[in-house]
Subunit: 328 residues, 2 copies
Amino acid sequence: MAKSIKEIARELNVSKSTVSLVINHKAEQARISKELERRVLDYVEKIGYKPNALAKSLATGRSNTIGLIVENIGDSFFGPFALHVEELLRKKNYHVLYSSTLGDPQNAQDIIDFMLEKRVEGIILAPTINLEEHQRKILEHKVPLVVFDRNSPDIATHYVHIDNGDSSRKACSYLQSIGCKNFGLITIDSDQPQMLARKDAYLKFCAETGMQSRILQLPYHRLKQKGISALQSWVAKNVGLDGLFFTTNYLCILGLKSLRTEGREGFDFPLFSFDDHELFDILNPKISCIQQPLEPLAKTCVRVLLKEIDRGISSPKEYVISTNLIKR
Amino acid sequence: MAKSIKEIARELNVSKSTVSLVINHKAEQARISKELERRVLDYVEKIGYKPNALAKSLATGRSNTIGLIVENIGDSFFGPFALHVEELLRKKNYHVLYSSTLGDPQNAQDIIDFMLEKRVEGIILAPTINLEEHQRKILEHKVPLVVFDRNSPDIATHYVHIDNGDSSRKACSYLQSIGCKNFGLITIDSDQPQMLARKDAYLKFCAETGMQSRILQLPYHRLKQKGISALQSWVAKNVGLDGLFFTTNYLCILGLKSLRTEGREGFDFPLFSFDDHELFDILNPKISCIQQPLEPLAKTCVRVLLKEIDRGISSPKEYVISTNLIKR
DNA sequence: TATTTCTACTAAAACGTATTAGTAAAGATA
DNA sequence: TATCTTTACTAATACGTTTTAGTAGAAATA
């Protein structure tokens, strides 16, 4: 199908080596004459030769590919994150093999195996629960690994993340500063460390300020209709609420939906979201939030990973990216 | 680093062939004894052997990878689309190498070259302008290609898309049915065929119903602040408007922003968007839209591509997916 | 007992590349 | 003119697989 160096060599009556050397711009150092070089170059150009990257990688040991494993490439956090990663890597001549785990450890398992088999040069991973073993496998195979967003506390890897506790604290103080004296927390029923940190900071804030803590934990699955009604009855039960702090943007959207379906047009108290959303600044009322700066996050992941690839695996470090408080 | 079949063979005192055959579950057909098979299997398991997919692909000619080229993996159309593609392909044991062109033909060029070099078995492409030549290149290399969302009329490929004209027509009729007698069209200043089709259907509708056409074409670049003010002054100029039809959801969002920043809380006429958005049903007023059914779209792309890969390239066909009109 | 058939493997070639050591011919040196 | 350099290449090996043809020895057949 596609022509190989071998065929080109035969057709030009030269050796494979010559063709390979010319193609890789090593003609000079290999003392190939200018004429021959031209002849090869012209022919290669003419037939539109595309080197076989698989063979190349096999020979050089470099795949020029990195793996990106997220929960869901389609969501408003990971999608734009992936775009940044891709952009940054493109500049370094790397390409991205991505996959979404959808939170399913079996998927994650398959994905990681596949990537290791594809000999990606490094992996950026937003782990879901129960992925410790796989992370260990990646490390065993000496493939550089950068974990972001979430991590497993008991396995040492490079870890890029925001300070969830701190950010959550900032959010609470902000709500207090705009007059909320009784705001509740809506979070997810999961033991993801970042969610725990957000909740703990809220609890700590309550303890310090004497505010009564009111927390609703929704189950991770079935966030649709069930979640809406759960939220509605919870809000109804908790009289005196004067604000809501959602620990993720999709929870906040769920909150919006549940209030809307309740027939309320506006809101009588502020909503605050952990993570921004494209439309939060045009909703009514505007929704303030903690914004995870995607680009710095992506930049750090890429930088750290490339360094590992270049200089070999080093001892794990933690990289904390600070968040922005967006007041609206 | 990672152990190879060769090393395993040496360590077990058998031949490479034996190891390979056992690993690929061909022990029986190659009459390898059960004992030996077990011995190999156990050892392979013990050391956590991962075959080198690069070598494998080189030998078999199959990369088990398909390329997905979109404009922006981070946006609310392509991201979820990519997720569906990934999911569907996972089931068939294919994986996805994706890239975003960001509308830049140079990027697209690089991406396509890279994918051809990686010997992807097929490509799903949402082309941007000036990509005809590259599509031709893909086809020359005998790589199955499915184009979706947009196409270049003068190059024959399998093409999966919605019926833009028809959908746009439906939108117009709907607006008319709810009482709009004077709605305008906000579109993008581009000659992408799908945008033209949407606009043309509007014009045709005007011609047929006698409604005066009012069209604003915003330049594709600088859609942010400039677009907002352009839109504002255009709306101010066009007295008597009683509805707006946006030909994409990001234009609609731009519209929302511009009206909001104008200080208007609500709207005195309906807005309609081509393409849905997560929050359109909770905004005030609710925004009706044409919804492109992502899953059928993705399913068709994948199905057609896999068929091409399986049975060889066939003569190009067009696949039209019908849209939904979401009334809110 | 000489031949055929099975059994249980292995040797060798191929995929398409990169790389290093080698070489024939021409030119320079002594 | 015999030796050393340089020039302009090429041969050979390696990367890690798959696959097909081959083979030594044991068992079965005649």
